[in-house]
Each structure stands twice: as C-alpha cells, then as structure tokens.
Symmetry: C2
DNA sequence: ACTTGACCCTATAGTAACTTCAGGGTGTGC
DNA sequence: GCACACCCTGAAGTTACTATAGGGTCAAGT
C-alpha cells in the first residue's frame, strides 16, 4: 500500500505520515523500485493507534512512551495505566484553568453592556487596571 | 526607565518585552546614548494591558485588534465587546472539547483495573480499536 | 587604573506538531 | 506523447515565547 492509501485509512495527511516517520513514531517501510514507501497491515495498525492517541490529545512524547511499553510484551501494563492517569490529570488541570479563565472573562464582559465611547468602555478599563500576574508554570501540555 | 525595570513592573521577562516590540505590540522606545531602550509611563500602561490580555489567553492577533480599536478613540467600543464575546466563545468551545475528551479517557481507563499482561490490557486494546476520526478544524486557538 | 558583576545589545536557533512550498520524479489513461 | 494524479526530498512557516552566543556599558570596589 502506498502512502496516500495509508493516510486515507488512518484519516490523516500524507505529510503527517512522513512526519511521524521522521519523528520515529512510525517505522520506515520498505520502498518500491520507484522509491515509493510501501506499507503493510502492521503499519496501518500502528498509525491508527497513534492517531487515536492524538485524538485524545496525547503528546508525541506520551505516545513514544506508550509504544515503548507496548513493545516490551513481557512486562505488565502498570506503566500504561500510569501514563493514562497522568494524562487524565493534565486534562483536569486544563479544565480547571479554563473554568477560572471563563469566570474572569465573564466578569470583564459585564463591565460594558452597550456600545459606549471608547474611553468609557468598562472592558478596556478592566484590562488596563487588572492586577498583572506573573505567568505560572504550565502543569499540562494542553494549551 | 530601562528594559529590566519595565519587565519587572509588568511581570514578564526582558526577552518578552523585546519580542513584543519586534511583533509590533509595543512601540519602539527612544534610546539612550548607550543604545539602551528608554521607556516611559505610557509604555508601562500598554505593556501591562498586553500582559493582562495574555493572562486571559488572548492571542497576539486578538491583542493587535484590541489595540487597533483603542487607538481610534472616536469610535464606539462595539468592536471591543464583540472581540471579547468571540474570545469567550473560544473558551467555551475548548471546555466542551476537553469535557468530551475526559469522558473518553475515563471510559478507556475503566477498561484496565489492574496490572495485566501487556496484550490483555484493555487500554491498549481500546487505543488499537477506536474509530479513527479525522482531525476537525479548530474553532479555538486554545490548545 | 583595573576588574568584577549586573545590566544592556543583536541575531539566531529551539520548542510542538504539524502545514506549506519549491522543485523535481513516476505511472496511467487518452 | 502528454496531461494529471501521485510520489519524493528538504526547507521554511506557524505561535509565543525561551535560550544561547558573542559582545558592549556602567557603577562599585580594590
């Protein structure tokens, strides 16, 4: 199977497939005589696995860890469970951040209910007078 | 006031200030004879405004729009209100996405309650067998 | 006068996960 | 024999910074 077909079954672009190969997430396949990449069923499975992880917003680093764990079939899956727990914690952190953000934005929005003169706008006044806080370290890769 | 002092009152780094200047968010200040940047009260106000917008997770493009609107004091603030409404909508979209994500992750996590053999792990099985969905267009810049 | 240290300058590269582009080769149907 | 869809590589662009290299400035201390 050529790269276009693989991309189609995995619902991503050809460029993304090549990028995963360069990143080491997907192993380099055999080549045809025309130097075209030639994929098999195992590549399909692995790429779909990767895309499913990405759909869950895992980073490449997390997916790398996961693939490394999977490729040691002798071990148990404790590491897999732990990785998932950590990832769920990332999502929780980001949800809490956004929730607080939304509250701040709602309060700000309340300060201007109509189309005022620019220098009377409560929103602009709010943005000018907020306590400027230092940017805190991220606890999550989720933006 | 030199750049280090400005950065301190605005709770950001010197590099960030220089970056904002390059981006056109902060206007280039006068220079001392030693070629040091020399800032005044207006720069302080504008930089704090920018940092407050960033604390609310606005993009530079949004901040640019906002500064452009502010700098036309003849107009009304309808555009400001609209920008804020759009930004709040971004936050809502991302919160909904994360909420769905968390549900998916919880269901996946449920599929493995103990440290099993690798090929019996319900999480890995789940990741392998999920419906692979095409990545949808982002409705929000929030990650 | 000399040095140490804190501060300033520019320009460049790195981050994450791709996307886009430039410039070219391959293979099939008419 | 040519158009057109597909494939190739390598480099640059995206966002909002951060970090690094390599250098200049200035005030205090010896």
């Amino acid at each position: 199977m050529k790269i276009g077909e693989l991309a189609q079954v995995a619902q991503c672009t050809v460029e993304t497939v090549r990028y995963y190969e360069k990143e080491g997430l997907l192993s380099a396949p055999a080549r045809t005589m025309a130097n075209y990449r030639s994929y098999g069923e195992l590549h399909v499975e692995r790429l779909r696995f990767i895309r499913n992880c990405r759909a869950l917003d895992m980073t490449h680093a997390e997916i790398h860890r996961l693939l490394g764990l999977m490729d040691q079939p002798a071990g148990d899956c404790g590491g897999v469970n732990q990785l998932l727990d950590e990832h769920i914690a990332h999502v929780d952190v980001r949800m809490a951040e956004l929730s607080q953000l939304k509250q701040q934005l709602r309060e700000l929005r309340q300060r201007c209910q109509s189309e005022q003169a620019m220098d009377a706008c409560g929103i602009l006044q709010g943005l000018a007078s907020m306590e400027t806080e230092p940017r805190h370290e991220r606890q999550t890769h989720l933006g």
